[in-house]
């Protein structure tokens, strides 16, 4: 036994010695070391050849150039295109995170058909053949039933070939109801149309202006192409003066030369007050006012009636009165008016934040009148009108009887009708019209392309109610957004990196610049270009509708539309017109009744609409709610780190949001410490925010940069659809704010709502 034990010991010693002298322990130790460094769940991205593909970002209307870095043809990063005239290499966080939209968890990967209750999230995957056949059949039936006008289509824009193609489809089908979302540019466009008689997108030459008087416009919060404005700011921040007028210290106000707090909703009064000083001190551009303007002084019409002129209107807004209305000191008003009038290229800007709400036409006219007072119209560094893109002519749509009958019906949204003759689209009115219709909904089938009205329209509850009354909804979205979630069919579009799309001059840009978004990768999922979907539906509907689309696919249609510009666009990505193309100062004839710039917009004289004064007098824009019950005012604010439009935030953008904006699932409402103290609220306290439209759980963020009595919530949160990276975070301001109809345009002009805040 003893021998056995010793032998065993000896054997062990031998083994130990042998093993030590063999590579085994040392090699094993090294391998274990390596093993602990290579966890299999840590991804190893594939390496390969680097290439770049250039395109235009279409996540917002800004139209920036992008450069997509690819490895073995696999996109790995989006960067700004250095050669692009707008962004010059820089890019906003939305554009920067574009690849998250390509591969993101909220992408729709194939055509879907709803099973189960609407909005329940139960879908069946179907083939494209089935999907197109089903949708065509439904549309065919509706048309056969004699009501083609009950088909409506909602899009985010009417500019570019895709919406034009859709509108063409509706025309051939027999429905006038192509409706697109409105923005602040629509009000500006209308103000320009009323005063100058010119149709087209407003061109605001920030590039060459030297003094920007912004009435709450978020020029650095995502307005007018975020990257373009940032680029300009970076280049000129020491030379251009920016005066930001709004009740909240926004990022634009942070960067502005001067921030002036104003009682919310009184911007028009300030504009008239400034006009008062400018006129009184004779600081206005006399050449412009005398030779090319109409309605500055009082005038007598053919009937001998004396009409009040703009000067007289402004005369009734002396600084002390305006000071009372706006809360801005008299001296500040006077000095601001002088600074504005004495600048060489001053621009007054209307439209709050990113401009997602059109706003009041009166306000817009009052502010635009300032531009006219200093004569900064239709010239470099001023405000001008950019005509739409010059597409090659398509063959005219031949309409059959059904179509022409349908096309003669009035638009469902009332735009262009007797009440609002100068307005093209009134999407904000659609929910109200559907909800108030007796019997069947006037919309029997709805197609939604590149839009998410169930999120972006004010008063979400009413919108949802209206959509529930529409029997057939088809979404063409690439993402499972709120509207797609409510649809019956989803015919998913390619993502913006997988498709061709022309990009017309971005809103606000003062010179024509068209771009072409090109596919930088083959479609990742089983999707189809929305243009192709429409063409194929048209073809299966047959007859005159089919004949209206003699193109094999969208690409052919696009090529024909762009005609001789195609090659240049396809190679370079964009075509830029230089400033030289702008009309010379004052050489421009206005298309108004008087052929002059009309301070007194004659076109506005609408006998059918007695609610409207022709001159833009200041009447406070009413907001919903009773002062007693709702002592505070809630305003929405825009942030460049939040996408509040139909494209929702990327996970990366949401990651950049401060914890003073969103904390876990709860949004923080900004409140001045003085107001908070009165309410007994402290930082991070839980509270309930109640407005006449709804209520929301919020947390308190004490912010010195907001006017006492005012609350602010960010736009772009509170999604209910998409993925868990976006849904159920904060509250959608549109749940809390309803639309207010502008009497003269019908647009939504709500800038806020009355509110009450109670500690939870």
């Amino acid at each position: 036994m003893k021998v056995a034990r010793r032998s065993f010991l000896s054997l062990s010693l031998g083994v130990a010695a042998g093993v030590t002298l063999s590579p085994l322990p040392w090699k094993l130790m090294d391998d274990i070391s390596i093993w602990t460094q290579n966890w299999p769940w840590t991804p190893v991205p594939e390496d390969g050849e680097i290439s770049y593909a250039q395109s235009i970002c279409t996540l917002c209307p800004g139209g920036c150039g992008i450069n997509v870095r690819k490895i073995n043809n696999r996109p790995v990063k989006i960067e700004g295109l250095k050669e692009h005239p707008l962004n010059k290499g820089g890019l906003c966080p939305l554009g920067m995170s574009g690849l998250q939209y390509l591969y993101g968890p909220s992408r729709i990967q194939s055509p879907l058909k709803r099973v189960g209750k609407r909005g329940s999230g139960n879908w069946k995957k179907i083939t494209w053949k089935e999907a197109l056949a089903d949708v065509s059949e439904k549309l065919y039936d509706l048309r056969v039933s004699g009501r083609p006008q009950a088909l409506a289509c909602i899009a985010s824009t009417d500019r570019g070939t895709v919406p034009k193609l859709i509108a063409r489809f509706l025309t051939a089908y027999g429905s006038p109801n192509f409706i697109r979302a409105s923005t602040a540019f629509d009000s500006l466009e209308q103000a320009i149309y009323l005063t100058q008689g010119q149709q087209g997108t407003p061109g605001i030459d920030i590039e060459n202006a030297d003094f920007i008087l912004s009435f709450g416009t978020g020029i650095l919060d995502g307005w007018g192409g975020a990257s373009r404005m940032c680029n300009l700011y970076g280049k000129h921040n020491s030379t251009k003066k920016i005066i930001q007028i709004e009740p909240r210290l926004s990022d634009t106000a942070v960067c502005a030369t001067e921030w002036i707090g104003i009682n919310p909703g009184t911007e028009a009064a300030l504009a008239l007050g400034l006009a008062h000083v400018i006129i009184k001190e004779s600081l206005y551009n006399k050449d412009f006012v005398e030779y090319v303007s109409f309605g500055f002084d009082d005038w007598t019409d053919e009937d001998g009636t004396v009409h009040e002129g703009f000067a007289k209107l402004a005369g009734s807004y002396p600084p002390d009165k305006v000071s009372q209305i706006t809360g801005i000191s008299k001296t500040k008003i006077v000095s601001l008016a002088r600074k504005f009038a004495r600048a060489s290229k001053p621009i007054a800007l209307a439209g709050r934040g990113q401009g997602s709400v059109p706003g009041s036409i009166d306000e817009c006219l009052a502010i635009h009148s300032l531009n006219a007072l200093v004569g900064n119209i239709n010239r470099t560094g001023g405000v001008s009108v950019i005509p739409g893109p010059d597409y090659a002519k398509w063959p005219e749509v031949k309409m059959d009887v059904a179509a022409s009958k349908g096309m003669q019906q009035p638009r469902i949204d009332g735009a262009g009708g007797k009440q609002f003759p100068n307005t093209q689209f009134l999407l904000n009115r659609l929910p109200e019209i559907i909800n108030s219709a007796k019997g069947e909904s006037p919309v029997q089938a709805l197609l939604v392309a590149d839009a998410n009205p169930l999120y972006t329209l004010p008063d979400t509850a009413a919108t949802k109610k209206a959509f529930n009354r529409i029997p057939f909804i088809v979404s063409f979205s690439s993402y499972m957004d709120e509207t797609s979630a409510m649809a019956d069919y989803i015919l998913p579009n390619h993502s913006y990196l997988e498709r061709y799309q022309d990009v017309p001059t971005p809103a606000g840009l003062a010179r024509p610049l068209i771009g072409l978004a090109k596919p930088v990768i083959n479609p990742v999922y089983d999707t189809k270009h929305v243009g192709d979907s429409f063409i194929q539906i048209a073809k299966s509907l047959g007859g005159f509708i089919e004949n209206a689309f003699p193109w094999d696919n969208y690409e052919a249609f696009l090529k024909e539309s762009l005609d001789d510009q195609w090659d240049e666009l396809n190679n370079k990505g964009f075509i830029e017109n230089k400033y030289d193309d702008l009309p010379a100062p004052l050489a421009y004839s206005f298309n108004t009744v008087s052929s002059k710039f009309e301070f007194y917009p004659t076109l506005r004289n609408n006998p059918k609409n007695k609610d409207v004064d022709v001159l833009p007098a200041f009447t406070p824009v009413p907001i919903e709610g009773d002062f007693q019950k709702f002592p505070l005012v809630l305003i929405p604010y825009d942030s460049i780190r939040l996408a509040g439009n139909y494209i929702a935030n990327s996970p990366f953008m949401t990651k950049t949001i401060d914890d003073t904006v969103l904390k876990q699932q709860t949004v923080l409402v900004e409140i001045n410490p003085i107001t908070a103290k009165k309410l007994g609220l402290c930082e991070k306290d839980k509270a309930v925010l109640i407005t006449p439209k709804g209520k929301a759980d919020v947390k308190i963020h004490l912010y010195e940069g907001i006017m006492p009595g005012v609350l602010a919530l960010p736009r772009g949160l509170g999604h209910t659809a998409y993925s868990k990276y976006l849904a159920d975070k904060g509250v959608n301001v549109n749940d809390l704010i309803g639309p207010i109809k502008d009497p003269s345009s019908g647009h939504d002009m709500a800038w806020g709502i009355r509110a009450r805040l109670t500690k939870a």
Binding site: W39, G80, R107
Partner: protein, 268 residues
């Protein structure tokens, strides 16, 4: 003393706070460039992975005299006391998972070496170092956009801004291929500098007279964060606001930011 190598570079950054609008592009550019993961809830900023954080600082005055300044903070790539690379974090790492590259002045972080003791995080006064509290997850097909130039990190290790060092590696690759000794200024730029839509971020070799940062760091508006701790950051800031400058370091009531800097320069 140690001037044998005149090729020594000190890559650094100058951030013009007067130009920063707080848009956050630099952050997103950084996430996208460096395979930074994201989580469902990113609102706890103290456990969020972000190599570059844009801080929002305020002068604290009541409405309407409130002022705000956005302050983007990447890793400061400290040269440390005496500028020998003894940055606060490098000397404390027990396993040489982080070191100071004397060729470029960049402080590295090697994830496969790091075992997660977090001593470097304790040492960094700028909170530039972040810990991977969770395993990274890229939902759906998002793994497909990962870049092979930066290795993804695993749970339990520290990560931080590398001044996009992989871009330097790539630029050098090209320079070797073209048989060049030197890089062009625009050849090696960080993702944040490139993305910044206002051009507030300038990047380059602080030792190279021809680079923009060389001049900018001498701008009278220039300062660095916590200079008094002798961390010697290679990230400079420009501001024309005195309160911002004051917020950049700690001062006793009677001290003037500019004067303190003078003493420091002469004193050391």
């Amino acid at each position: 003393m140690k001037e044998k190598n005149n090729h020594t570079k000190r890559f650094g950054m100058v951030i013009d706070l007067d130009k920063c609008t707080g848009c956050g592009s630099c952050m997103v550019a950084c996430y996208a460039e460096n395979n930074v993961p994201f989580r469902v809830d990113e609102t706890n900023k103290l456990d969020s992975l972000s190599w570059l954080v844009v801080h929002k600082i305020t002068n604290g005055k009541p409405y309407p005299n409130t002022e705000i300044c956005y302050l983007p903070m990447p890793c400061m790539q400290c040269d440390g006391i005496g500028k020998h690379g003894h940055s606060p974090c490098v000397s404390v790492c027990p396993a040489v998972a982080t070191d100071y590259d004397h060729e470029t002045g960049i402080v590295s972080q090697i994830y496969t070496r790091c075992f997660g003791c977090r001593y470097c995080m304790a040492a960094c006064p700028y909170h530039a170092r972040k810990f991977n509290w969770w395993d990274p997850v890229w939902p759906a097909d998002m793994k497909k956009y990962l870049s092979p130039n930066v290795s993804p990190r695993m749970r339990g290790v520290v990560e931080k801004c590398s001044f996009c060092f992989h871009r330097y590696q790539q630029a050098k690759d090209k320079a070797f291929y073209e048989k060049r000794e030197e890089l062009y200024e625009d050849e090696y730029q960080t993702a944040c500098a490139e993305a910044c839509p206002t051009g507030a971020i300038t990047f380059g070799d602080l030792n190279n007279k021809n680079h923009a940062v060389y001049k900018l760091k001498k701008d009278p508006r220039a300062f660095r964060l916590l200079e008094r701790l002798h961390t010697n950051p290679k990230v400079y800031y420009l501001t024309s606001k005195s309160w911002v400058r004051r917020a950049g370091d700690n001062y006793l009531a009677n001290e003037e930011p500019g004067k303190i800097k003078q003493e420091m320069v002469h004193g050391h």
